[in-house]
Amino acid sequence: MKMTSRERVAEAMALRQPDRVPLMCQFSIGAMMHQLKPSPAEFWYDGRLFAIGLTELCERFSFDGILVSLHGHSPTWRDNIQSIKNVGEGEQVLIFQDRTEIHSWDDLPLVKYNIKSKKPDIDSIDPDRDIPDTIDYIPVSQDLYFKIDPNHKFDIFDYIEELTGGRYSVHGEITSPFDYLLDMLGYEEGLVSLIMNPDKCKVILERFTKGISQLAQEMCGYNIDAIKISSPFAGMGFISPEHYSEFVLPYEKEIIRAIKERGKFVYIHTCGHIDDRLELMMESGASGLECLDPPPVGNVDLANAFTRVGESMFIKGNIDSVNTLLYADDERARQDVLKIIEEGKEGKGFILSTACSIAPKVTSERLEMLSTLVKEEGSY
C-alpha cells in the first residue's frame, strides 16, 4: 500500500517497514540560498519566508520530510538594523550597532563584531546568573547566533503546517548542552575545562540541560513528528568516549527522555568520526541516529552500524554530501547512493539522507537523482 510522505518517515522512525525507503535530507542554509536565490538577509530572519523556502525545496526534490533548523524568528527583526545595503548579486550587508553581518547566497551569514567580546573564564561563571532559565538563542556556528524571540518561539511550525497541511514529516532541531558549553567558554577553553574543571562544567551543563529540555518540550506541543539534537563537537575528532560518557550522554539522555515523554521521536546528530561511540549513543535512549559520515569525512560503515545499533535505533544517513553529491561524477554518485539504499533496506528503520547537511553548491540534478533512485530502488 502506498504511504504518504509523513507515514513513510513515521514508519521508519518506529522501526517498521514503510512502502519504500523515505528520503529526507537536511539543507544547509547555503544550499537553500543556492536553490532559491532569495534576499539572503530576509531569508535568514523572516520566519514565513524561511518556511516557504523549506516547503518549496521539499516539494521540488520530492523529499518526505522537512527539518526546521531555525526557529524563533522575530517579526520585528528589522528594528535593530541601522542599514541594509545590497552590495552585489545575492549579497547584503547589514549594519547593527554592535556588528556587521554579511548575508550571501554562499552560506551562513558572516558576522563581524565591532568589539570582539572575550569569552568568560570558567571560574568567573555563575550558572544561576549567567545561564538563563529560558534558552533564548541558538549557537549556529562560531560567532553566529540566532536569537529566539520569546513571543514567537515556534511560529515557524504553524507556518509550515499552513503551507503543507501536514503532508510531510516535520522535525524540529535543538542544540546539545555540550555545544552551548563550548560556545560559552570558547572551543579551546571549553575543551580544556573538561579536564581542568570538570565539576563546574557539569554544573553548567545541568543548567543548560534544564533550559533546553524546557525548549524541546514546548516544541513538542507543535505539529512535529521528531526533534533532532545536534551535537557536532561530540565525535572522535574532539573528545574521547570517556568524555562523551561524562559530558554529553547524561545531559542528552535527560532531554531525550523529556521529548519521548511528549510522544515524539528524537534523534541525535554528531558529525565526523563516531564509530567508537555508536553503542554509547544508543545508551542515550534516542529513537534514531543521524549523520554517520562515511570515510573519508567520518568512519562509519552503514551495514556495520545497523548490526550494532539498528535493533533499537533508526538510522538517517549517510550520503557524503561533499565527495558524493558535490564532487563525484554522475556514475560514482549514483553507485554511492545505490549502495546506501541497498544497505539501508537491510536495516529495521532507515531514512535516506545526506550525512551532514546538503553542501551549498550541490546541483538540482544531484538532488533530483536521490528521489529517482529511491523511487526506483527503494521499495521494500
Binding site: 547555503g30 554562499d106 552560506d107 551562513l108 558572516l110 558576522v111 556556528s141 562560531q142 560567532d143 572551543y187 579551546e188 575543551l191 580544556v192 573538561l194 579536564i195 581542568m196 572522535m236 575528532g237 574532539f238 573528545i239 574521547s240 568524555h243 558529525c271 565526523g272 568520526h273 567508537d276 573519508p296 569525512v297 554530501s321 561533499v322 565527495n323 558535490l326 564532487y327 553542501a359 551549498p360 553548491k361
Partner: protein
Amino acid sequence: MENFIDKISLCIERGKINLESPYPPDLKGEPGADELTRDALLSGVPAGDILTKAMIPAMGIVGELFREKKLFVPQVLMSAKAMNLAMKHLKPYFTSGELTKKGVFIIGTVSGDLHDIGKNLVSMMIEGSGWRVIDLGVDVKSDSFINAAKENPGSVLGMSALLTTTMESMERSVKDIRDKLPHQKIIVGGAPLNSDFASRIGANLYAPNPQSAIEYLTLCQ
C-alpha cells in the same frame, strides 16, 4: 640530565603543565613542564637538549597518538599548554641565537571562513615541533598570505577551510599565490577537504591531521 629529559618529556606527553595543575590526576602534586624546564636549565642541562631530546619528541608522540585517535583534543591542548610553558624558559636561548627554529610556517583560515579550531590546533602542534608559526588569523585574503610569504622566504604556508563554500576561496587563494610565488609550498586542511581536492587546486599537500603536516615540514627543511 637524562632524568630531567625524561621527566620533561613525560610532562609534555601527559599534559602536566605545572605544580599547581591537578591534571593528570596521577601526577598531582608533582612538578610540571614549567618547573622541570626551569630546574633543568639551572642544573646545566643544555637548552638544545631540552628542546630536541625532550620537548619536540614528546609533542611528536602526542601528534602521533592524536592521529591514531588514541588522544583527543582536550589532552592535546593540555600538552600544548605544557609545551608553551616549557618553551618560555627557552626564549632567551632563541633570542641569543643559541637555539634556532626549524623554519617559518604561516597559517590562516581562508577568506570568508571564521572557523579557527583546526587552525589553532595545527599551529600549536607545529610550534611544538620546533617551527616558528605566524598565525594570520581567520578570514585571510590572498594578499595577506602572499605578503607574509614574501616577507618570509622559504616559509611554508598552511591554509584551513571548514566550509564547502570557502573551499572555493581556498582554491582562489592558492591560484593567486601560485601566480605571484609559483614555488611556494602550500599545505591545506579542513574537514571537507581531501587529497584529490588539494591536488586539483595546486596545493602541495592535504594534511588530514597536524602530524601529517609536521611530517611534510620535516621533508621541507
